[in-house]
Amino acid sequence: MKVRSSVFASFILIFEVFGIALFLRGFFPVPVKSSLPSKSKLSDMPTEPSTGVSHNSSEPPQPIFNKVVIMLVDALREDFVFGPNGPTHMPYTRQLVERASTHSFIAKARAPTVTMPRIKAITTGSIPGFIDVIMNLNSPALLEDNLIWQAKTAGKRMVFYGDDTWVRLFPKHFMEYDGTTSFFVSDYTEVDNNVTRHLDSTLKRDDWDILILHYLGLDHIGHISGPHSSLVPPKLLEMDDVLKRIHGSLILKEAEGSLPYLLVLCGDHGMSETGSHGGSSEAEVNTPLVLISPAFKRKVGMEKPGTVEQVDLSPTLALGLGLPIPQNSVGRVIPAVLEETSLRDQLRFLHLNGHQLSCLLKDSIPAYEKDAGFEQFRVAEKSHGNWMKLYMEGNTSEVLTNMGKKVLKQYMEALAAMSAALSKQLGKYDMYSMTAGMVFVFQLLLVLLLAMPEALSGAAEVDVPVLSALLSLPFYLLCLLLASAHVLVCTSAESSCYFCSLSWGLVFAAVAFSSALFCILVSMATRRLSQGPKMILGKGGEWSLSELDVVLLVGSAGHTVSLAASSFVEEEHQTWYFLLSTLCLAVFQDVCRKYFREERGGGGGGGGSGDDEDHLLPTKGCHPSRGSSSSDHSHTALRAGIFSERWLALATPPFTLTCCRILRSLNQTGVQWAHVPDMGHWLNSSEHGVVLSLVAAFSLVLIYFLVQRRCSWVSKVALALGLLGVYSYRAAVGNVSFPWQHAGPSTSKGTVEARFVYIFVLGILFTGSKDLLRSQILTVDARLKSRGLWEIYSGLVLLVSLLFRAHNLPVLCGGLLIQSLMAQFIWKKLHYDAAQITIMHYWFGQAFFFFQGNSNNIATVDISVGFVGLESYVEAPAIFLTALSTYAGPLLWACHLVCYLSSERHRSPVMMAHGCYCLALLRSVPVAAYILLITALRYHLFIWSVFSPKLLYEAMHILLTAGVCLFFSTVEQGHSSGKS
């Protein structure tokens, strides 16, 4: 079966998307969640187990504490309190830890050690899976069952001061709150003063039950200057003083007869030696947890703090306050807290915790009955019942106490086992689905690679032996083999597996597909081998690589290899910027060589040697020699034209370099240097509003002039009005100001303006697709077609300019400028082939992805664009708009590639097909390499914080590229049908 290479490439990409989806499903552990959407209720609490006698109480147990103060210090590392410097840094706290009635622990946080997931872990007791972060992008409020909700339902009055993440997570939960934003990292005094200023008045009052304080200053200091900075000790002393004040006032308030208070000092995550956090190194994971309450035994000396999980805080607090444990909590109650209560109460608390864990276990693990922890819990429950029976009968002998202790121990073991089983469920990879997805992707990649000589040939057609493969015997044998292997794996697997849970039809289709691919692969490989020697001989003579080719190939391969290092994934933008600069210099060398050689009659030849930078040497020489030739006045007019063109061509690569250098300083991304102030921040600060307005207006005008050239007049008008609408939208939102608008920022959200722009976007897209369709179906008019394509492109540009933040408009404008200059003076004049142009577009697209402020971290996805022009959250458009604005760079460059290649078709009719094939290859190779890498590195320290977000970005990008390739092949389709 002969297929055109563009169609071939897009089909391969689409199937690859499926393979990657399967891989992703296996890679990301399904979050442990109870299937019931409801939340735990007091009435659902299990009764005390008992055999026979009906005296057991179904009453909830009495709370241990009445007032709880949680003092959360962001980035409080364990050694700040318990380390050797503890007595000098936090003298009061250390004194309490050493000889007051306290319990101290090292609470282990899980990766990602970032504030928001940590707050979720503390309040819900669950370990937020990676996929949760994605799923919850749309709703900032925490909908899961959590401690704060439970406390509110139970009528507890809560007061909160500190990081406004809490306010966003728990809207309307607090009786009183004041959120401080953690946006300005350079400020580390005001954020904390804003919390402490409320402290005195709140502590005096008596109308609250739970007080939560979240101090951000320490984290900010860490980001600025690290854990060993001179700013840290005074900050810790300040925190110590705050704790002293709270403790003092709580002691004063303590009244006889009422329940005791509980003061909790904890950190959400630690900080690494460089002061950052997010990973899972010891320093980032270990946080102190100090529980202070008169209900505890008095300490007599410093003990080594025990280790607990951070999630253990949630059930402990819930039981301490007499609340139901949040449904999805995987933590277990800290037994030390219960020590001073009666044995009956202790057993009751442990039973409640065990019951909750066993319910969760039942929901999340299909084979829960086989689980050791579950069985232990059943046994413990039974002996608890027996104990209760004896207890109710009034037995008070020592035997009963001993028996109770034994039950206690049984409960503890059961809790530990169940908690471990649940946590393990989170860290388990579904290797079978991952392998299946990987096999698909690699088969497809190999087919793609094997088809290279045919796909890049003059005919641009690939002969895929589908029929012969489907009718061959090995195909059926392979089908049988794979199907039986599938059955074997699925029946023997202990854990749940997504690929096994698929329906039979789907699985069989996948099996058939895979075996067919294998047969195709083999037959293509044999064909290639039989042709091999001839092909190599035929090519050997003329096949030589220019310096530019070397740069392009080595760069693409080098980038793929660099993905193996976590730092290079974090700082991927550096790789792209570096490669792009090298590319510009290599192009510059090519340009110099071309114009130089022509000038000198091709004799000596100009240009540089093989490396990247020497080629500048000839340019120095260019100018005088040009001066001498200009004295020749024979064809003055013609010469002047060529002359200015030469100058422009020579100036384009340095201009591009400068442009890229300016754009990269616009948004500082990555991890290591993310805190460095960039131009974006400078522009967005309130005192530079005028500059921002000017920059935005100038960019919009420039965008108009760059885009309108090839549009019809209707689109021109629509584009102008649309860009005006973009500016007024930004003015309405308050980013930029009109010169005549002197009042403060208006209250409207700019919905009207944004919708106004949407109308024009749709209009331009409509005229564009109309032109395109007409050229495809009715007439074969190349000009109409390229105009239609360009109009679609300009519609996209308009949409992106609406979605981009005001300070990012120069990125869009710079991209358009580079595109038009390069197209006019470089790509056309230097006769680059489709493959070279495609690789260059791809590189530029990647660099622009980072220029606009993206990184390989989920946190940089700008969710606010999902609300542009919408009054409330609507899922489909919000996701579409967010994806579009995130991938605007690569998408616009890919679209430009389509426009450019189709306008250049007269040079070579198969350029489109070649471009499409190259794009598919460029995207498939890194993705395939990356999923292989990530499978190999799945136990790496940074797998969740660095590698997995990148995997999601890659998956999204390949989906997008599949779409672009499909567009490619439809556009090309029309062309070839028109030709025939």
């Binding site: 976590s566 910027y577 490396d611 080629h615």
Partner: protein, 219 residues
């Protein structure tokens, strides 16, 4: 004649390579508190100065520089002035390119310029010594098949390896190993020096093994 030329070149290269070695070791012995990472700027200046001086003196002694037509003092002076101008321009050029590659514009301008000076002394100065301030000759040497003597080929190779060394030297900077040599511009300058030395070694070897294929046009 061939062997003689190659031998002369090999010995010059050996002198240069030993200069690089001495410029690293000697200050460590003579100066207190000198280290390649700690006082990196000083090391760079030592290296640039030593390589520059040795380059000029060796080439002057050997008399490789192209024969001049005139011998007037004024002409020599103008050549000298032009050479200095070229050196300065080349420093500026390297500085610009490094900044365009992403070096901070203002913050560590001294470090960046020092790197540019080092690169100039390793590449441009040699070219000036061998070819003189003659733009046409430079263009000829650095075009693809423009080498006319062993010296030209060796220039091509050492310049290429130096620049590629500096280029490769930038790669370890984003890694989070927190090593002293990851600080800007330590890795780049070390990369360029290592590239230079390997070029010095590679050039005679390569020419020796390819002397059959190498056919130089006569001037």
């Amino acid at each position: 004649m061939w062997d003689q030329e190659i031998r002369a070149m090999a010995s010059t290269h050996a002198i240069l390579a030993s200069t690089v070695f001495v410029a690293t070791v000697a200050p460590k012995v003579l100066l207190r508190g000198f280290s390649v990472y700690g006082t990196h700027l000083l090391w760079m200046y030592c290296m640039a100065g030593a390589v520059g001086v040795v380059n000029v003196s060796v080439f002057w002694l050997l008399g490789i520089s192209p024969p001049t037509k005139k011998h007037t003092v004024g002409y020599k002076l103008s050549r000298l002035v032009r050479s200095c101008l070229y050196l300065f321009l080349s420093c500026l050029f390297f500085h610009t390119v490094v900044v365009l590659y992403g070096a901070p514009l203002i913050e560590s301008a001294v470090e960046t310029f020092s790197l540019a000076v080092l690169l100039t002394s390793l590449t441009t100065l040699r070219c000036l010594c061998v070819l003189g301030p003659n733009v046409q000759a430079w263009i000829r040497v650095f075009s693809r098949h423009g080498a006319m003597s062993v010296w030209d080929t060796s220039l091509q190779i050492t310049t290429g390896t130096t620049v590629i060394g500096a280029w490769l030297g930038a790669f370890p900077i984003p890694l989070d190993w927190d090593r002293p040599w990851q600080v800007w511009p330590v890795s780049c300058s070390m990369g360029s020096v290592i590239g230079f030395v390997s070029g010095l070694v590679a050039a005679p070897t390569w020419i020796h093994y390819h002397r059959k294929q190498l056919t130089y046009k006569c001037k």
